[in-house]
Every structure is written in structure tokens, then in C-alpha cells.
């Protein structure tokens, strides 16, 4: 297809949308899906048909609407002179007649979710801008809202060097957690010499408590593909892989469907949009190994091997998949590319803080009222996230800590809640940005248990290649268990601290290097909890 034909699809789709004054959008992303939102959607559709309203109202499944704890969520939009939008929460299939019946009249009060909650108003959406608006299974929906416009712009008006320059100027940093400048990574791969190059999308969201990548892939898979295709054009790659966790069947299904649609429209494959540029994408399934989020382990897994990391350098940018230069970026990083190309690097660089640009998607969960998927500008404070967007702690309990970065991150106590969320502030506090999992912990949880939980995770996920990680995590876990059982002495605590230092400094890959973080950060802020569990006589002696 030519760029003009793609634009025709966009125009036609917009016309179709304006044919009916009412639109009922049902969230079909993972959380609502598991609350039987499919049945809700079918009942709403039946209801529209029974009332003969097909020409008045469309019923569609859309991507994540964000407020997962209140699912299944349904939005009823009406166009006309006074466009309105109603968000209904906890909708059941039997609510369909009331929802359809009240279209254009008073809303159904007991299901209505106020849309002026800080949960919605405090957010700024770039990655999730189409999430909840488009049907993730229809490429036409994505195109109507600007999907693939950035690709057309890049392929027809820009050289690969100009694309990279745009990404460099935007200040985008890797959203997988480490925050490496994306533009720099792209230019390294572009400069690398090799007959064949690869682009790999890291969707191995292993942090237990994070579901950003899942939601992006389930809600707007075309945005990720578009970012990958632009990246391939910029660095000169011909083949790419999306590595997704096998635990995400819905995301895999929608991604595969999106790839087929893009191939059909000539947006993937040979001679993309009638240009000499070729790019092919395939999906590879992970199989439940946290270490595969590490880039060299991920590449080994794509090659069909055990996911063991290898020392770097050489970095994958020089020596990656099957020895070829390889660009690896996270799902969310790729999802940021198209808006940057469309709206310009200056626009993107104007959002966020000095060193962390743009927005970040977080999966907010744990002991907080409103759990779900949020996207906020970098620099938003943790207090705003927990107490305004999240609505605070339920049941009048006290806030204790917020855990960011999963097993590689740390727990941040109340007194630092006014710190802005960006890469540098979080690492200063002994945590990390991580991929975006945020778990709120209240006074009822013991921080020693939390540290023990993460250490147990690291023990089972250590690949066993290097000794400090394989043996060290196990020893640390035993010490934590001893402390939790109130059998440890002061010496054990000192040994634990020594081990943290050793494992951090000597492990081969990120898993081991960051495994002590949950222990170190809880020791830093909640040392009294450890000390109160030490054996009584050791208190007396000290």
C-alpha cells in the first residue's frame, strides 16, 4: 500500500465513527477480561440489537481503561452538540438493558464512576493515548487515530540519520528500568558494521507486580510495531523479534493479529509503503525465566538456548543475536517512538524533568484504593501517585512504604514521598525506576518479610551461571529466614550486610547485581524491624 492509501483508511474510518451518535466501549484488557467483560460486551450488543439501535449505537471492545480495581469498565460516549462521556464501573452482563436504556438520558447512578477523580485528571497520556479508545484487534481503528503516520513521515521525509537525531534530541531513556539513552543506543547500532542487523523488543516483563507491557500490547499493539519498524529503518535492520512472556496469552494473540494486519497492509514485509525498505517481525515466547529480561539472556533465549547471560562488552549493539548487531528496547520505549516522530523531539523534551523526559507508565497495586495502570509525567511525586491518583490507603490503615522496581528495586518510606519520580532521584533513594511496578505497602506488612519474599524470588530465578548470585542469594535468603524466625544474632545481620555488598559487586548480570537492593533499602529505612527480631541475648550484649 502507498502512504495515500493508508491515509484513505484513516479518513474512511473517521467517517464510519461519525455515522452513529453513541459509542459503547467495553474494556477487554486482561483485568476486565478476567471479570467476564466479554459477556458484558455481548449482552450490550444484544441489547442494542433487540432495541433496533444498530444505526444509533456501536459496541466495541477497547484496550485498558486504567482503573483495573473497578472492572469491568464500560464507557458510553455520545457525540452531538454536547459530547458526553460516562464511565461505568463493575458492570455485570445483566446491567446491559439499563445502560443502553439510559443513553441520552440520566446516567445509571449506581454504576457511574466519577470521571473527575484525580486518578484520571492527574495523568498525562503519551504511551497510552489510544488505550481505551481503539479496538486493539482492528488496525483501521489505530490508523484513524494517527497510527503509522509517524512511519509514513519517517520513510518518506526523513533519512535514518534524521530519525536517530530526533530520538537523541527528545532525551528519551530506556523504559526497561536502567534508563540508558535510547538515541545513543540507536546510533551505536546504526554505526555497527554487519551485513545483517536485528531489532528486538523486550516484552519479558518479569517483575512480579508489573503489567505495563502487557497492557500496552493488549491495548495498542500497533504502536509498538510502528516503533519497531521506525527503529529498524533508523538502524538498518531487516529482521526483528518481539519477545513476550508466555504467561500473557491475550497479549500474544493481539500482537500476532496486529502483525498479520500490518503485513496485509504492506506496513511490514518487503518494500514497506512502496519504499525499498524491508522489515520482518516474528514473535518469540518466553517461558517463565526472570533472568531473560537481561538482554544477553533474552538473546540466548531467542536462539533457543537456556537464558544464561554472558559478560558485556561486547554489547548486543555490536554482537547480539547470532553475532549480529542488535538493538534491544523495551515495549514502552518503542511505544514512545511514534509520538516523538509525529510531534517532534522538542515537544517530548518539554515534558518531564531535566534528565528524565516524557512520561512513565506505572502499574499501581498493593494496599491502595485505586489500583490500575497509570501514566504520569516524569517528576510527579510519589505522594501524588499514592494519595491523589491512588486515593490513599484503604480501611484507614497507615502508609508504610512504596516498593518500586520489583526484585531489583527497593522500598521507599513515608519521609521521601515528596521526591519526584525520575531515574536519578529513585536511585539516590536506593531503589530504581525499574520497568514500572509500584506496590504500596501498609503498616500490616513486615518489611523483613517483604525482603525475604524478594530474596526467595531471586534464589529461584538465579540462572546459576555465576557463583555470587547462585550461592549468595541462597545464603542471604537463609539469613533472612533466620531473622524472621527470631533466631538470628547481631553477627548474622552483619554477615547479611557483607553478603549484600559482595553479591552486588561481583555478580555477572543485573539480576545478581541488584538482588540485594530490597534488603539494602529495607535495612536503610526500616532497620529497627530487623533489630527487633534479633535474639534477645544479642540485644543485651550490644
Amino acid at each position: 500500500m502507498t502512504p495515500e492509501e493508508i491515509q484513505t483508511i484513516a479518513v474512511n474510518q473517521q467517517k464510519v465513527r461519525h455515522k452513529t451518535p453513541y459509542h459503547v466501549c467495553v474494556c477487554t484488557a486482561a483485568a476486565c477480561h478476567s471479570m467476564q467483560s466479554d459477556q458484558v460486551k455481548n449482552m450490550l450488543f444484544e441489547e442494542v440489537r433487540a432495541r433496533g439501535l444498530e444505526k444509533e449505537c456501536t459496541v466495541r471492545g477497547v484496550g485498558c481503561l486504567g482503573l483495573c480495581s473497578e472492572g469491568p469498565l464500560v464507557v458510553v460516549e455520545s457525540d452531538g452538540d454536547h459530547p458526553t462521556q460516562r464511565l461505568y464501573k463493575k458492570v455485570k452482563a445483566e446491567d446491559a438493558p439499563r445502560i443502553i436504556g439510559q443513553m441520552g438520558k440520566e446516567p445509571v447512578a449506581d454504576l457511574l464512576c466519577p470521571s473527575d477523580l484525580p486518578f484520571f485528571t492527574k495523568q498525562k497520556k503519551i504511551v497510552l493515548e489510544n488505550s481505551g479508545l481503539i479496538d486493539p484487534e482492528r488496525v483501521e481503528d489505530a490508523i484513524a487515530l494517527g497510527g503509522y503516520a509517524a512511519l509514513i513521515q519517517a520513510l518518506t521525509d526523513m533519512t535514518p540519520a534524521e530519525v536517530i537525531e530526533e530520538i537523541v534530541h527528545s532525551g528519551l531513556r530506556g523504559r526497561g528500568g536502567a534508563g540508558y539513552p535510547t538515541g545513543l543506543k540507536w546510533s551505536t547500532v546504526a554505526k555497527a558494521v554487519g551485513a545483517k542487523k536485528y531489532v528486538v523488543c523486550n516484552g519479558d516483563e518479569g517483575d512480579p507486580g508489573a503489567f505495563m507491557d502487557r497492557s500496552v500490547l493488549e491495548s495498542d499493539p500497533h504502536r509498538v510495531l510502528e516503533g519497531m519498524i521506525i527503529a529498524a529503518y533508523a538502524v538498518g535492520a531487516q529482521e526483528g523479534y518481539v519477545y513476550v512472556r508466555a504467561e500473557y496469552p491475550l497479549a500474544i494473540k493481539r500482537l500476532r493479529n496486529a502483525i498479520r494486519q500490518a503485513q496485509r497492509l504492506g506496513l511490514l514485509g518487503n518494500n514497506i509503503l512502496g519504499t525499498p525498505f524491508h522489515f520482518h517481525v516474528d514473535v518469540r515466547l518466553g517461558a517463565g525465566a526472570f533472568v531473560c529480561g537481561e538482554e544477553t539472556a533474552l538473546l540466548a533465549s531467542i536462539e533457543g538456548l537456556r537464558g544464561s547471560p554472558r559478560p558485556r562488552p561486547p554489547y548486543p549493539a555490536q554482537y547480539g543475536l547470532w553475532g549480529c548487531p542488535t538493538l534491544i528496547n523495551n515495549v514502552e520505549t518503542f511505544a514512545n517512538i511514534a509520538p516523538i516522530i509525529r510531534k517532534g523531539s522538542a515537544w517530548f523534551a518539554g515534558i518531564g524533568t531535566e534528565k528524565s523526559k516524557g512520561t512513565k507508565v506505572f502499574a499501581l497495586a498493593g494496599q491502595v484504593k485505586h489500583t490500575g495502570l497509570i501514566e504520569v509525567p516524569m517528576g510527579t511525586t510519589l505522594r501524588e501517585i499514592v494519595f491523589e491518583i491512588g486515593g490513599g490507603i484503604p480501611e484507614g490503615k497507615q502508609f508504610k512504604a512504596i516498593q518500586t522496581g520489583g526484585p531489583s528495586g527497593g522500598c521507599i518510606p513515608e519521609k521521601y514521598l515528596d521526591m519526584p519520580v525520575d531515574y536519578d532521584s529513585l536511585s539516590e533513594l536506593g531503589s530504581i525506576m525499574g520497568s514500572g511496578g509500584m506496590i504500596v505497602i501498609d503498616e500490616t506488612s513486615s518489611m523483613v518479610d517483604v525482603a525475604k519474599y524478594f530474596m526467595e524470588f531471586c534464589v529461584s530465578e538465579s540462572c546459576g551461571k555465576c557463583v555470587p548470585c547462585r550461592v549468595g542469594t541462597d545464603q542471604m535468603h537463609r539469613l533472612l529466614e533466620k531473622i524472621a524466625k527470631q533466631k538470628a544474632t547481631r553477627n548474622d545481620l552483619a554477615l547479611l550486610e557483607d553478603l549484600c555488598d559482595l553479591v552486588k559487586k561481583t555478580s555477572l548480570c543485573g539480576l545478581g547485581q541488584t538482588a540485594p537492593n530490597p534488603v539494602l533499602s529495607t535495612l536503610r529505612y526500616f532497620r529497627h524491624e530487623y533489630e527487633s527480631l534479633l535474639r534477645a541475648e544479642s540485644h543485651a550484649r550490644s
Partner: protein
């Protein structure tokens, strides 16, 4: 170049092997399709066994040790046949904070079942997942492929006991 390599024949007449062979053929019987192939075997048979390992090793021309190594490295692969019904408890951080340890304790007390075990009558298996990505609904479990959220220990025990008592 002469190909003096013969593709091995499937271990049995079972039609499901055709799907496994098709998965390997799709990737040209290349060694790097090992994980994809193991996924297919697990999808159609429910678990991986030695027969499958031998067949895949021969068909993809990789050492048997490598097939076994990969199959045991990744947590997603089951090497034991699961029971008639499966309950997968999510052990992600949000579920941990919201009470999966209590659920697990209740199941262990009432059902005398540990994680990774199947009841003696082969009816129910108790498994765990690192995170099913439905943290907004924590605590979460997957009953026979269906995700259920906001669970209490009693919910899970009741569900499992119903499976034990009836055939539904």
C-alpha cells in the same frame, strides 16, 4: 549439497505429534526453534516427557542434554502431567502483599496439598505463577485457565473442594 539426514518419525500415531512436527517445520527444523517446539508440545499434551525430548532432539539435531537443559531451565514447562483441574496461585508482589500466603496456608491445611503437587486421585493440581499481570485484582488465582480476582482463602478452598467432590 546432498542431504543425508532423515527426519525421524513421530513417536506414535497420535495426531497431536503432527502439530509438533508442523511447529518445527515452520521454523525449518532449525535448532533455535527448540523453545517454540516445547511450547507446542506442552500446549497439545499438557506437559513434556522423555518421549517428546527424544523426538525433538532428533528432529532439530540438538543434543538430548540441551533439550533437557532448556526444558528444566524455564519454569513455564511442566515435566509432570497435571491433574484434571489446575489451580494456579499468583505469587507476584501485589498478591503477596494482599494475602496469597494466607491462601496458600489455608489450602495446605485443608487440602493437604503443597505447591507443585497433585491430589492422589489426580483430580486437582496446585501450581504457582510468578505474576499473571492482573495485579489490580490481587490476590489472584487461575482456575482451569480462568482468572479470578479478589479472592479469600475460603474462596479458593471451596473451589478446590467442589472439584474434589464433583466431576464438574
Amino acid at each position: 549439497m546432498r542431504m543425508d539426514f532423515n527426519q525421524p518419525s513421530p513417536p506414535s500415531e497420535d495426531n497431536r505429534w503432527k502439530m509438533v512436527t508442523a511447529a518445527m517445520r515452520k521454523h525449518g527444523f532449525k535448532a533455535h526453534s527448540l523453545i517454540e517446539t516445547l511450547h507446542t508440545v506442552q500446549e497439545v499434551f499438557g506437559y513434556l516427557d522423555e518421549t517428546a525430548f527424544h523426538y525433538i532432539a532428533a528432529a532439530l539435531r540438538v543434543p538430548l542434554s540441551q533439550v533437557y537443559g532448556v526444558a528444566t531451565f524455564y519454569h513455564f514447562f511442566n515435566l509432570k502431567p497435571p491433574g484434571e483441574h489446575t489451580c494456579v496461585l499468583c505469587t507476584g508482589t501485589a498478591c503477596f502483599i494482599k494475602g496469597v500466603p494466607e491462601i496458600l496456608k489455608a489450602v495446605q491445611d485443608h487440602m493437604r496439598l503443597q505447591l507443585g503437587e497433585t491430589t492422589p486421585d489426580n483430580k486437582v493440581s496446585l501450581l504457582s505463577a510468578r505474576c499473571v499481570g492482573a495485579c489490580g485484582l490481587a490476590p489472584v488465582a487461575v482456575f482451569d485457565g480462568e482468572v479470578a480476582g479478589n479472592l479469600t482463602p475460603a474462596d479458593v478452598v471451596n473451589r478446590m473442594q467442589r472439584w474434589m467432590n464433583h466431576d464438574t
